[in-house]
């Protein structure tokens, strides 16, 4: 018995790299190795194919169809026959509404980081101190993030009603009169108002991520700095925040990708109005695709959105995230 087990173990160890230990032991001829490989291939296929098929069917194929739509003029029925080359792209890229939408997306990308990064760090550093109700506070801060954007949007739409909304009424109590058309109805204010609502919705996400990152900052460093006489602020500025770098950079990336795809909140709050002051690329392509059935234009806008997102992702990866990978390589070498 003991003998058999040892033999089996040895044989198993010899072929574990190929998987299928026990079977190979019985007949270690080249033919059976091939059949083992064949079996393994089959297993891999059975395991991986469902996900791959699903992914190609509902992610890759639609992406390719978007590219296909973008070079045709198509209203949604009949075959794709009216090939127009790059004309849809030209019409999208010279369309003031689309260029405005692109500008709004870029504004939101920049403003999200510019507003939420300092606020998020400040609140996270505060919440990271030992204090009462810390757990409760973390939960509260995170609540806006878990609500559906639509539900949050509907609530804010009510709060922001001109005159009858609670925000206008509080302002009136302070002697300030809200804009006549409401914050969402005034073209100059609408995008900033959307930005405030987005900050409310997503600041909690930043804070929770930063707090998680702060747990990874070794306490000893902090303590060492304090013993050396560094003030609380100096400790944060020169030790904690730099060590939080990877978390901050990853968060900024997620925030950027989200801002480029922004749809739900804008659709509920303003529908892209007033006077296209808040359109985003996503609301533009949904409008063209569903309301006007200009599938070619929607396809071209989708491809442009994709190219913008991909370019930003690659640039970000190349110039900003690459530091983190370089850092971790260094760390590995040291280890």
């Amino acid at each position: 018995m003991t003998d058999a087990t040892t033999t089996r173990k040895r044989a198993a160890a010899a072929v574990t790299t190929a998987g299928e230990g026990g079977r190979a032991k019985r007949s270690p001829s080249p033919r059976s190795t091939r059949s083992v490989n064949w079996r393994m291939g089959l297993e891999i296929a059975v395991f991986v194919l469902p996900a791959l098929v699903l992914f190609f069917m509902f992610v890759v194929w639609p992406m390719l169809r978007a590219v296909q739509f973008s070079v045709y003029r198509w209203k949604g029925f009949g075959p794709l026959t009216d090939f127009v080359g790059l004309r849809n792209y030209i019409s999208v890229l010279t369309n003031d509404v689309f260029l405005g939408a692109l500008g709004h997306n870029l504004f939101i990308v920049v403003a999200s980081v510019a507003i939420q990064l300092p606020l998020g760090i400040a609140v996270a550093l505060l919440l990271n101190r030992k204090m009462k109700f810390q757990g409760l506070l973390r939960t509260i801060v995170f609540i806006p993030y878990i609500l559906a954007e639509v539900i949050a949007g509907v609530v804010w739409f009510q709060l922001l009603q001109p005159r009858y909304g609670v925000i206008d009424s509080i302002l009136a109590g302070l002697g300030i009169q809200g804009p006549a058309q409401g914050f969402l109805g005034t073209p100059d204010l609408a995008l900033w108002t959307v930005m405030v609502v987005l900050t409310w919705k997503y600041l909690g996400f930043a804070i929770i991520l930063f707090l998680a990152g702060l747990q990874g900052v070794p306490q000893e460093l902090d303590e060492a700095a304090q013993i050396d006489g560094a003030s609380w602020w100096q400790t944060q500025r020169y030790i904690t925040i730099p060590l939080l770098g990877p978390t901050l950079r990853t968060w900024a990336f997620l925030s950027m990708v989200g801002a480029l795809q922004l749809f739900d909140m804008v659709w509920i709050l303003t529908g892209g109005g007033p006077a296209n002051a808040t359109t985003t690329m996503a609301t533009f392509l949904i409008n063209e695709g569903t309301k006007r059935s200009n599938y070619g234009i929607a396809g071209a806008a989708s491809v442009v959105l994709f190219v913008v997102a991909l370019t930003m992702a690659l640039l970000y990866q190349r110039f900003i995230l690459s530091r983190d990978t370089a850092d971790s390589d260094k760390r590995k070498v040291r280890r």
Partner: protein
Amino acid sequence: MTSATAAAPAATRRRRLGTTNPVVYFIALVVAAFSLGPVLYSILGGFRSNAQLAESPAGMPDPWVWSNYAGVLTNPNFWRYGLNSMIIALLTTAVVVVFGLMAAYPLSRYQFPGREKIYMIFVLGLLFPATVAVIPLFIIISKDLGMSNTWWGVALPQAAFALPTTIVILRPFLQAIPGELEEAAMIDGASRMSVFTRIMVPLSAPGLITVGVLAFVGSWNAYLLPLLLLQGDMRTLPLGVADFSTEHSSDTAGVFAFTTLSMIPAMVFFLTMQRRIVGGLQGAVKG
């Protein structure tokens, strides 16, 4: 030396506790009020009448009105939308967890040529914004597959778009499982399949819960794809809330009641799964 290192943290801790001054509590209070204010207002708004809301928008319910909430709870559409949301979220979660784990298993534990290439396909999927594909998806699902206005028509594409995150989170979990366990089971005559179901699935449970929660929340809150694909009785809760608020725009109190009750499932789910969700987000960031 030992006593010095032991004493230092205690001293710092005391100092830190000391620095938590009223200003910090005040800022914390402001942040909490900012976060919670709109939600509380919505809850209280549901307890007021439209006349109360119009007369003094910033007031408290006086008297408390229960009819708005009662109206929503006796509205069959509310329950139907909730049921649709629940079924679609469960289908999405089931598909993404099962398919995602199956794919992550060979991608983390088998050695074969092309493994990293297949993995890269899914990783690149992280870069595809779902919005880009939404118009063609609408055409494919409604015209080519004839699945518009069905639960599966929304659940399958949602699961497909959740696959990249799922596989990227699960792979390190599976890789961390010691190979000896697998070998030992196979020496005892277990097949690959039973190694998978009896060892890999139970040992990767924490990762599975995380990706499951993320997929569920994503589906529960989804708006764009359901907006294009679902109408009438098939609508989900976010669609129902949006439509209710436009159809009953003069009944502000009713809108608050409907919206508030729609928040509850997500809140309850979050409060019970808080640690998992936060853990999952951390994992996503590190991954």
